[in-house]
Amino acid sequence: MRLKPIKWSLYHLFTAVGAALMLYPVIWLVMSSFKQSETIFITAESLIPSPWIWSNYLDGWQGVGGYTFTTFIKNSLVIVILSTIGAVLSSALVAFGFARLKFAGKTFWFTIMMVTLMLPHDVVLVPQYILFAKLGWLNSIKPIVVPNYFGAPFFIFLLIQFIRTIPAELDEAATIDGCGKFRLFWRIILPLVAPAMATAAIFSFYWRWEDLLGPVLYLNKPSMYTVSMALKMFLDSDTLSNWGAMFAMSTVSLIPVIAVFFAFQKFIVEGISTSGLKG
């Protein structure tokens, strides 16, 4: 639809003001991280810090419980990377099976997978905790990482949708040339679904980076804490008066998320539009 000039200006004015309102809280958070702790709430209405306090970042980085944010970021990254590799690869394997192979019970398992997609996680929270406790996995990253290696329904669904757009003639040609199913998957399909795997990887990154419940349940030593848990510790400590440091580390925790968002927008938007992934 093309708009007339006056309508066009009004449209942009209205939309831009809306967008600015949406972003205001985030900008407020970032700006507060440069303010003096004592003045953050006195000057809450003004966005520009005066003076600019950079030491909030140094103070905040000292962390909590004797560990710095270097440790927390490292812990988060280990969990995110191991989980993402597992979730994306295993989901691709399963998706190929559902999208391209014929076998007994396929419809049954596909239905199960779609139901699992809608199953509230709270239902299995307690027994999974007991299971991991019995396995002696408490206080390790295993309960958070290992389940990812068994395929994630959201990603399986996303990848099935994508594999279906690849012409089946390709499979037939490869099979005639004597290519087995595993070679077909690994050498031909996998490279072609790379864009969808990138989408899955980005969402896996978000969910694991922001995850709080997993670490709260399974990680009890400050040396193992993730960034999310460290922030929570900041908030909980009773002696807290260093708001600036807390806002500074909150900002730090958002930097990777926002950076990935701007770098991979296209994948994110397509992933949500086609599969309805929650963001």
Partner: protein, 298 residues
């Protein structure tokens, strides 16, 4: 058609990870959870069978349970429609041929991508402080400041505002749906003299109704399981006066703070039933308002 057993085997090797994972991490835990819901279990001594006691206590002897159920319903009923409404309005607004759309879409979506993080909950907590930005704004408008943390209903609204602020993923799904409506429908309607309002109500809404149903179901399930914001904003306790004691938070507290694993399991099963019923109601009523285009060949 007969398929060689080897092909079946190959199929199961590929979907094997999911099948195994489903059995180990979902099916067995679900049965375990059902069994535990009839026991008292604190993780250290063996589960003690108590029959329906947990369920009876839940509904007749635990005012906090009713409070958390009520708070959660208010949160879902207050938050989900508002969130969908904003998502739809912004999607319609952004469904024009302007080069700035990508930029706007990014700005409106960004809050949702950072939405689940602890940082955002901490930020929200501070925006709504007694001397926070929201109260300054209210006072600038000549209204009274609200003690967001002193009043259970205000605290719940604070959580609802946070969820409404994060309408981005629904908006993107709506946008994709809007792009699928053929432009010729609107042109024909314009020729017939339909104004923007009747075009919206006669074409956009009916054509979009399957997407609205999908978003409504996913958002309802998601809202019912909200945990992190309530946990962070109330420092894990669900206050003030249990005003932000969302169902998931209370379940977490019963299971992992008070070590009532049996009670928490019973809560989980009631939650599953409630979500199943809500989803079924949405599906059932959908035949009155969801419009499916009859597609000839697909």
């Amino acid at each position: 058609m007969k398929i060689a057993w080897k092909n079946h085997l190959t199929g199961y090797i590929f979907i094997g990870p999911f099948v195994l994972g489903f059995l180990i991490f979902t099916l067995v835990p679900m049965f375990a959870s059902l069994y535990l819901s009839f026991t008292n279990y604190d993780l250290f001594s063996p589960p003690k069978w108590v029959g329906l006691d947990n369920y009876v206590k839940m509904f007749t002897g635990d005012p906090k349970y009713w409070k958390s159920l009520k708070v959660t319903f208010l949160y879902v009923v207050g938050g989900v429609p508002l969130r969908l409404l904003f998502a739809l309005l912004i999607a319609v607004l952004l469904n024009t041929a302007s080069r700035a759309i990508g930029f706007y879409r990014t700005m409106f979506y960004l809050p949702s991508i950072i939405g689940g993080s602890v940082a955002v909950s901490i930020m929200w907590r501070n925006l709504f402080g007694d001397e926070g930005v929201v109260n300054l704004l209210l006072q600038a408008l000549g209204l009274d400041a609200v003690r967001w943390f002193g009043n259970p209903l205000a605290a719940l609204w604070m959580l609802i505002f946070l969820s409404v602020w994060q309408f981005g993923s629904s908006m993107l799904i709506f946008l994709a749906g809007l792009k699928n409506i053929p432009g010729s429908y609107y042109e024909a309607a314009s020729v017939d003299g339909a104004n923007a309002f009747s075009r919206f109500f006669r074409i956009t809404l009916p054509m979009l109704s399957p997407v609205i149903l999908f978003n409504a179901i996913m958002q309802t399930i998601g809202a019912f399981m909200t945990f992190v914001p309530a946990y962070i904003i109330s420092k894990g306790e669900g206050g003030p006066l249990d005003g932000t004691l969302l169902y998931s938070l209370y379940l977490f507290r019963q299971g992992f703070v008070f070590s009532n694993m049996g009670y928490a399991s019973a809560m989980a099963w009631v939650m599953l039933i409630i979500i199943a019923v809500l989803t079924a109601i949405l599906f059932k009523t959908s035949k009155f308002w969801v419009h499916y285009e009859s597609k000839g060949d697909s």
